[in-house]
Amino acid sequence: MKNQLRELRTRKQWSQGELAEKLYVSRQTINAIETEKYDPSLPLAFKISRLFKLPIEEIFRTTD
């Protein structure tokens, strides 16, 4: 799954740690999502979507 998380985060000028705090996850989780090594659960994807006020499908896209 591809995602726009890094672009969205840097646009807001947040560090990975700051974003992690806002989402109540570890910095490692943010890094793993940004590097596309880990796909977040649906509840976390919804949290991200609410935080950036964007629909999920604009943040996450399937590769196929």
Partner: protein
């Protein structure tokens, strides 16, 4: 809301160490170890005690041990989803590794292969040490995967 639990928060050299979290996780383990040590010392010094009292005393560390297991479960529940997945992979690796190695040692022994001190399989302490070592390896592998 607190940050989610991480292994770093209970590793003294990680730079993100939290004594509060470490105690919340490991306090009952320390109690269990202290009780087990004290009981082993007492049982050695008093061989005249009845088998029933010896059995009860020997099993006493199980109570703080079970409370420690409860704290481990609460700690994992307080982790975020990726940390929980890493722990699940690490524990699966440790459990399956212990099972496979234990079975292999027993099978070799049963087929007449001389294994020296491992002739009767792993001891209790040996099994714990093996599981813990495999858990460390499993955690390192899973961490590398999601780094």
């Amino acid at each position: 809301m607190d940050n989610p639990n991480t292994l770093e928060s209970v590793s003294p050299l990680s730079g993100h160490y939290s004594l509060k979290r470490d105690l919340r996780l490991n306090a009952w383990f320390m109690v269990a170890a202290a009780v087990a040590g004290a009981i082993a010392f007492l049982l050695k010094r008093h061989p005249e005690w009845s088998p029933l009292s010896r059995a009860l005393l020997t099993l006493a560390p199980l109570i703080p041990g079970m409370l420690y297991v409860r704290d481990c479960m609460l700690f994992i529940r307080g982790m975020d989803e990726l940390q929980r997945r890493i722990q699940m992979e690490a524990w699966l690796f440790a459990a399956m590794g212990t099972l496979i190695l234990g079975t292999t040692v027993n099978t070799l022994s049963a087929n007449g292969v001389s294994l020296g001190r491992l002739e009767h399989g792993f001891s209790l302490v040996g099994t714990f040490a093996l599981t813990f070592s495999l858990w460390l390896v499993g955690t390192a592998i899973a961490n590398c995967r999601y780094k």
